[in-house]
């Protein structure tokens, strides 16, 4: 019988993380969370999460950074807003989940070849380069970098889509592509200047 000792000392908390949570977009009213559990009850993916949305709220505001950024919840969230729209304290749960996801990506806390951040990277590269997404190539790029076998497994579906005219291989591009670069560079520059 394996025993696991769990007691949390104040040193295990990260006050900077807690502060960041209550100031980031989405965390504004986190202190009002009554832990009623409605968010978890509404969430269609909470059954797969290691920490339900409710637990994540409390862990976040208390500053248990390791548990929060290492949880599966932030990757499972599909941003369907069922939690946020019904929260009796108007807590912006979904937006906070987005913020946590962004922070986890920033701090590279995810398994190697994890599809979600790979997808996010490929998506943003494609937008920068072409201004629009060509689904066929996006899917290919993501699977090539994560799981080649899965890509093969999806080939039948891909063929069906292609044959029904729903997976064009022609690259979608906007005419004024340089505008994309200017736009994105400007955002990066302003962000740096305003320290956002």
């Amino acid at each position: 019988m394996e025993l696991k000792r769990t007691v949390k000392f104040e040193a295990d908390r990260d006050p900077e993380f807690a502060r960041w949570v209550s100031h980031t977009v989405g965390g504004e009213r986190i202190r009002h969370c009554l832990q009623c559990g409605l968010c978890s009850g509404k969430c269609p993916l909470s059954l797969y999460m290691d920490y339900t949305p409710r637990r994540l709220m409390h862990l976040s505001r208390e500053g248990f950074k390791e548990e929060v950024l290492g949880s599966s919840s932030i990757w499972l969230c599909t941003a369907c807003y069922a939690c946020m729209v019904n929260c009796p304290k108007n807590i912006n749960v979904t937006h906070l989940l987005y913020a946590l996801k962004q922070r986890a990506i920033e701090e590279k806390r995810y398994p190697r070849r994890f599809a979600i951040p790979v997808m996010a990277r490929q998506f943003s590269d494609m937008v920068r380069g072409s201004g629009r997404i060509t689904e066929s190539w996006l899917v290919v790029r993501v699977f090539l970098r994560t799981s080649f076998w899965r890509l093969l497994g999806m080939s039948r579906l891909g063929a069906k889509l292609f044959l029904s005219g729903r997976m064009p291989l022609k690259r979608e591009k906007i005419h004024r592509q340089p505008e994309m670069e200017k736009l994105l560079d400007s955002v990066a520059a302003t962000r740096k200047e305003l320290a956002l």
Partner: protein
Amino acid sequence: MRYAYYPGCSLRGTGRSYEESLLAVFRALDVEIDEIDDWNCCGATTYMSVDELTSYALASRNMALAERGHSEIIAPCAACYLVLNKTQHYIREYPSIKIVVTRALETIGLEYHDRIRVRHPLDVLLNDVKPENIAAKVKVPLNGLKFAPYYGCQIVRPYSTFDDQRDPTSMERLLEACGAKAVHYPLKTLCCGGSQKGTLPEVGLDLVHYLLKEAQKNGAEVVATVCPLCQFNLESFQKEAGERHDETSLPVLYFTQLMALALGAPAHTIGLQRGFVPIEPLLTTKEIAYA
């Protein structure tokens, strides 16, 4: 009034039938649209996960372009609808975001004046065209075709103002004006899993299964959707979900396909042939004449 039209990337790919049928519906109902010249990707939920600030700038470019000459923009894709709305709200609420967006648009010679209203086709058809007027133009009544009204999440939450966020009924009202019949569908706003099917397959498969099984159980003959990703998920993984759980074999269509059918558009112009579960047998059984 002419509306600005923002198709979004999916409508040129997996959501092709959505665009085809939507344009057919608009043509039949004299809704005049102008596609935004050189529109770009809105960023959808993926960009939001990585870099929110940039996604606001991306979305604003489209709105700034649309503002030149239009006061309303129709965004059929649920993700685009959400992103555009969120961008509008956040620019109003957070001055720092406004600064970032204004400067970014300046570098490409554009300005965003917050003078444009973001609409969904459901909203336009329900409130501007109105069900009575649609019913009057129906050429091929849908003869009580039973459909499960599946809204998904992003079209209702959190920015929908034209329908109840917890129990929307706009699709029911529109399709019933065309002669179809909605079945009881408690999962009408349950998330389909979005892009999780690609990244976390078992999760996505479970959700697809629940949605399809419940529709079939309640007697639906077809599932009507409003979102390209929902339609894709439900249709593409129906077989796989059936292998793992219980089998279902429902055609999954866009609500605009059903409407266009009712308004007399020829089948091949509204993408009916692009579906994985053919709908023709069902139409024949229900004696719905299609060209």
